[in-house]
């Protein structure tokens, strides 16, 4: 069966909602739409992360995994900013397709959630192991 830690699940959900909401709202209130210029940087970061994860399948480095987790969190929060402003820009150009827009935001949400979940769950597991060691 599944070994998720339930407190980590709840914390990750609340954390993701908070992160997502604040970044999305800040992208809406940024009237100059300056986050759109992050697009190229974010796409190349995503491509680097993809090749890194493929490479990591074979060498299984712990450091690369950490870079994937925390760097990926950073990139995906950037994508929330970028995607929100891209949706507004497309709407300004006359795009009425809210389904594709929702799908791009959904992808960002899930990516943030999975990474936050792994980070929190790992930290809790490490803490409980340390507690057990201290008690001995």
């Amino acid at each position: 069966m599944f070994y998720f830690q339930t407190t980590a699940l709840l914390q990750a959900l609340v954390g993701t909602v908070l992160i997502f909401a604040s970044f999305s709202i800040s992208a809406i209130y940024n009237k100059s739409r300056s986050y759109l210029y992050m697009g190229g940087f974010l796409m190349s970061a995503l491509s680097v992360m993809f090749w890194m994860s493929l490479f990591n399948l074979f060498i299984r480095s712990d450091m690369l995994m950490n870079i994937q987790l925390y760097g990926g969190l950073l990139v995906m929060t950037g994508f929330v900013l970028f995607d929100t402003q891209l949706i507004i820009l497309k709407a300004r150009m006359g795009n009425k397709d809210h389904v594709a827009s929702a799908l791009s935001l959904f992808t960002d949400f899930i990516s943030i959630f999975v990474r936050l979940m792994i980070i929190l769950s790992r930290n809790q597991s490490n803490n409980s192991q340390n507690d057990r060691r201290r008690r001995r």
Binding site: K96, V99, S125
Partner: protein, 129 residues
Amino acid sequence: MSFADSFRLPAMDARSLLDLADLSKEEQTLLKATYRTLALTLAAASAAVYLQLTSSSFLFHSMLPLLASFGLIAWLATTPPTPQNNTKREGILYGVRFFFFFWRRLCADVDRVLWRSLALSRASRSARS
């Protein structure tokens, strides 16, 4: 302006946060529809995960949900994004997300990645269960 004044924050009106005047009416309705669709998609996905965590069925292990989600993805890709079609496409999107997260392998994969990252030995895993 005195030196102390340079540390003072400019007066900020909290009502300016509710000011979305730079977005036109159409953009606001599209944003609302986007966030509504996002919320319902997340609800569909979490409903599927909840179902497979609480109940047991042969369907979770079969390839049927995955095939259903692939079929729905093909349908979604071939439906043109016209305003008349948008309600239908929204429904297809919920179906895609529901069936994709209904598939047990996905959860098992996330679970395996999680446990590989936790680097727990088989002994501690059997002690837990």
